[in-house]
């Protein structure tokens, strides 16, 4: 069964996405006319919005429910039969994960504790605690598994950590400056000095609703749970990413903080950018609407569907899915 299900999700079935404007380059004038996916609260406003820059688009990219045209969306990430073990103990965690993500899609992975969701995220970004034992991962046409973690990052892959580590003695702004300059180097652009960078980053703080003092504190040191999550999203905002993996970005957040974080993520999305969320709760998915929901169990994806899966899960638990 697992095999059947996972093979079916390697080629995305409907509902699939239509990105009506995906031929525009990201810098072009973008008039978003329709949010095809129902957006209860913001759709009216969104329809009217005229966006000069894709990078400041506020709402989720438009996703079509059914009318997929002749153009198939551009492939961003393709994971085939990925298996991985814990590097130290050789205990298998991932047992053949298949996943295909196209530009502009929002995916969510749900699953019980210990089903391998976070491991999957960490393997994608090259965490040294895990060792890939089989399968392939192609990101933007390149073999991701051959790249160092930092190369994956500058190639446009981002993961927000579930519990980001404290780095005493390194200030937030210095850390972000280093990371941002690494990206600029890769793009062949001159690096920004501390003062220029300060000018660049200050406005970004509004995105995550943080005060300027936040920058002078040491990375994650003494941060509350909410502050850590906001800080991860700030990093995403500063660095930008074509594919962002948000590992339990909603855990430990109160409703207001969750709304802030979700708003920030939505604000960062463009029709070309994709997101993979790992979560236990429907709540997050109501703020950031996924195109697909995958259910993971025992190291592979056993079910793929739309938001209705999350609703079943919320109501009846994972048993209902496993039994289906």
């Amino acid at each position: 069964m697992a095999l059947l299900n996972s093979s079916c999700c390697s080629t995305p079935p409907p509902p699939s996405s239509l990105l009506p404007f995906r031929k525009f380059t990201s810098n072009s004038l973008l008039l978003r006319v329709s949010a095809l996916r129902p957006l209860r609260r913001h759709s009216a406003q969104n329809r009217l919005s005229l966006r000069l820059k894709a990078s400041i688009a506020v709402e989720s990219p438009a996703i079509s429910g059914s009318d997929r045209g002749g153009d198939s969306p551009k492939l961003l990430l393709e994971v085939k039969d990925l298996s991985a073990v814990i590097a130290e103990s050789k205990q298998p965690i991932l047992k053949g994960v298949n996943l295909t993500v196209c530009e502009g899609e929002i995916h969510a992975i749900m699953g019980k504790n210990g089903s391998g969701k976070s491991t999957f995220a960490k393997v994608l970004v090259g965490h040294p605690d895990y060792e890939v034992t089989g399968g392939s991962v192609v990101f933007k046409g390149e073999n991701l598994l051959e790249m160092d973690p930092e190369e994956r990052s500058v190639a446009g892959l981002f993961m927000s950590f579930q519990s980001p580590v404290e780095i005493p003695g390194v200030s937030n702004i210095d850390f972000l400056n280093m990371a941002y300059n690494a990206r600029r180097r890769k793009l062949g652009l001159p690096e920004l000095g501390p003062i220029e960078f300060y000018g660049y980053i200050s406005p970004k703080l509004d995105i995550v609703n943080m005060k300027i003092e936040f920058l002078n504190r040491n990375v994650n040191e003494g941060f509350s749970g909410g502050e850590r999550k906001r800080n991860e999203i700030l990093q995403l905002a500063v660095l930008g990413a074509d594919f962002a993996i948000l590992d339990e970005i909603d855990s430990g957040l109160d409703v207001d903080a969750l709304r802030d974080v979700a708003k920030a993520v939505n604000g960062l999305l463009t029709p070309k950018k994709s997101v993979l969320m790992i979560t236990h709760y429907l709540r997050l998915l109501e703020f950031i609407k996924p195109t697909y929901i995958h259910v993971m169990e025992d190291g592979s994806i056993i079910r793929t569907g739309d938001i209705s899966i999350a609703k079943v899960l919320e109501k009846e638990g994972y048993k209902a899915i496993a039994a289906a």
């Binding site: 973690p149 930092e150 580590v165 005493p168 003695g169 850390f175 990371a179 690494a182 660095l239």
Partner: protein, 500 residues
């Protein structure tokens, strides 16, 4: 991953806790049988009667003492009484103090034998030309220049001190009241051989006096500089013996900055420095201590602190210089409710030894102390030594004492010897200690990488940040910035290519 350790560094931790720690009031009676601390076994006491072995005079020590005495008597004319007293007690104790060997516990890991094989020369007069002094650290603060152990007024800047505050050499002290106070306190604590050698050889005594309830806004900057010195590799070892007494009366408050620098090049010299600090009731002293001596120098330093009730002493040390650098810090509690915070950072980036021997004695209730010692050894022949003793005696109930030491070894065969030791006799105390020796943390490195930062840059940032925890406690921005950039300069070449 490349960040993992490829080498087996030499390390040694010998934690000794002589009495088990009970976090809550214990039901059991205070142990009657005092545990005899190991460290005192080989300690050299100044009273010959107690240690018959030590009563034999060490001819080598006597020889140095004599040359020091000769050099002093040839310069000074009238010696103020406190200095006379200091010389007298010091020479008395030298009669029975041998040169330390590796068999003596306090010098188990610190080899001083090469000093013994050098040609030790007292510096009998202050240098006559100041051409070499281009490197004298810049400062905007009230400051005193101490060159080869001698106060040089022409290089000092002592304006704008509040009324009643004295900052200068004993010979220019006019107030009899202060002179009397100085006499009470000078050298009434026992030290080791180097303490006594300083007492015999100190040509002068620098006094910092803060009267009762006086808050001195601006910190006082003591700039120590060495001009005399043998060429690197030569046997010549000129010795200077600067000595300072800081006396802060009840309710007073002051910041002291001690900064030691060597001249250009790797000159051989020996700075044998002593600072005594007496902190009155409710008074506060913030002591910043920066040591960046020449890499061929011997730097032996004593800091002896006496804290009256409810007083505060904060030490922030950054030591990077010297071939052999040893700091002895002794803090003695003289009343209840004291606060003591020691933060030290040692960097051994070449063929050098950085040694901290700290001893905190708590005899009264409700003392609070925090000690953080960090060291990086970034050279295969580099060494760091830490012996941190905290003694909580019978009447020091409700003491809250914490000690943490962390060492970072960046090269194969880099060595650290760590000996945190708590001796607790009181039964209602809260004490903690910890020692960790490591390479950089993998998950921190990965966090950098996950944000696109390459391993070399990440390593550098983490190594700098390791010391930054101490450096950022330096209370004055100008000094902090200077120290930060100095540390970066020293570490940059060390870290280049170390990740390959």
């Amino acid at each position: 991953m490349a960040a993992s350790t490829f080498f087996t560094p030499n390390l040694c931790i010998t934690p000794t806790v002589s009495v088990s720690i009970s976090p809550s009031p214990s039901k059991f009676a205070t142990p009657r049988s005092r545990t005899r601390p190991r460290t005192t076994k080989t300690r050299v006491l100044t009273q010959p009667s107690l240690t018959p072995l030590a009563s034999l005079s060490d001819p080598f020590v006597l020889e140095i003492a004599e040359t020091l005495e000769d050099s002093i008597s040839s310069t000074s004319t009238s010696v103020p009484p406190p200095l006379q007293k200091l010389r007298h007690t010091s020479s008395q104790s030298l009669l029975s103090t041998p040169w330390p060997s590796r068999k003596d516990e306090p010098f188990r890991f610190t080899d001083t034998s090469f000093i013994k094989h050098s040609h030790i020369q007292p510096i009998s007069s202050p240098p006559q030309s100041w051409n070499h002094l281009g490197v004298l650290p810049e400062t905007q603060l009230p400051n005193l220049a101490i060159v080869d152990g001698y106060v040089v007024n022409s290089l000092s800047q002592l304006s704008e001190l509040p009324d009643g505050v004295f900052f200068g050499s004993l010979s220019s002290l006019k107030s009899e009241a202060i002179m009397k106070r100085v006499s009470e306190f000078v050298s009434n604590v026992e030290g080791d051989l180097f303490w006594s050698l300083n007492g015999v050889g100190a040509p002068d005594l620098v006094v910092v006096y803060v009267p009762a309830d006086c808050r001195v806004e601006s910190p006082l900057h003591l700039r120590y500089f060495s001009v005399e010195g043998g060429d690197s590799g030569s046997k010549k070892l000129p010795i200077s013996n600067p000595r300072v007494l800081v006396l802060v009366e009840k309710g007073g408050e002051i910041g002291i900055i001690e900064e030691y620098v060597g001249g250009d090049g790797n000159k051989c010299y020996w700075a044998n420095s002593v600072m005594e600090v007496v902190i009155g009731e409710g008074a506060k002293v913030t002591h910043s201590y920066i040591q960046s001596q020449s890499l061929s120098a011997v730097h032996i330093k004593w800091t002896s602190v006496q804290q009256e009730s409810a007083s505060t002493y904060e030490l922030i040390e950054v030591s990077t210089g010297g071939k052999l650098s040893r700091h002895n810090v002794h803090v003695q509690q003289a009343g209840p409710d004291t606060v003591t915070e020691l933060s030290t950072f040692h960097l051994s980036f070449s063929d050098q030894t950085q040694d901290l021997h700290s001893r905190l004695v708590l005899d009264h209730p409700r003392g609070f102390s925090r000690q953080l010692h960090k060291c990086i050894v970034a050279h295969s022949q580099g060494q760091a030594v830490f012996d941190g003793n905290i003694k909580v005696n019978r009447f020091a109930q409700q003491t809250d004492a914490g000690q943490l030491t962390r060492s970072l070894l960046l090269e194969p065969r880099a060595t650290v010897n760590v000996k945190p030791n708590l001796q607790i006799i009181a039964d209602d105390v809260k004490c903690s200690h910890g020692a960790a020796i490591s390479d950089l943390e993998e998950n921190q490195l990965f966090y950098f990488q996950a944000r696109g930062i390459d391993l070399e840059t990440a390593r550098k940032a983490l190594v700098f940040s390791f010391g930054a925890e101490v450096i950022e406690r330096l209370p004055y921005t100008s000094i902090r910035k200077k120290v930060e950039s100095h540390i970066k300069e020293l570490l940059n070449p060390v870290l280049k290519g170390s990740t390959s």
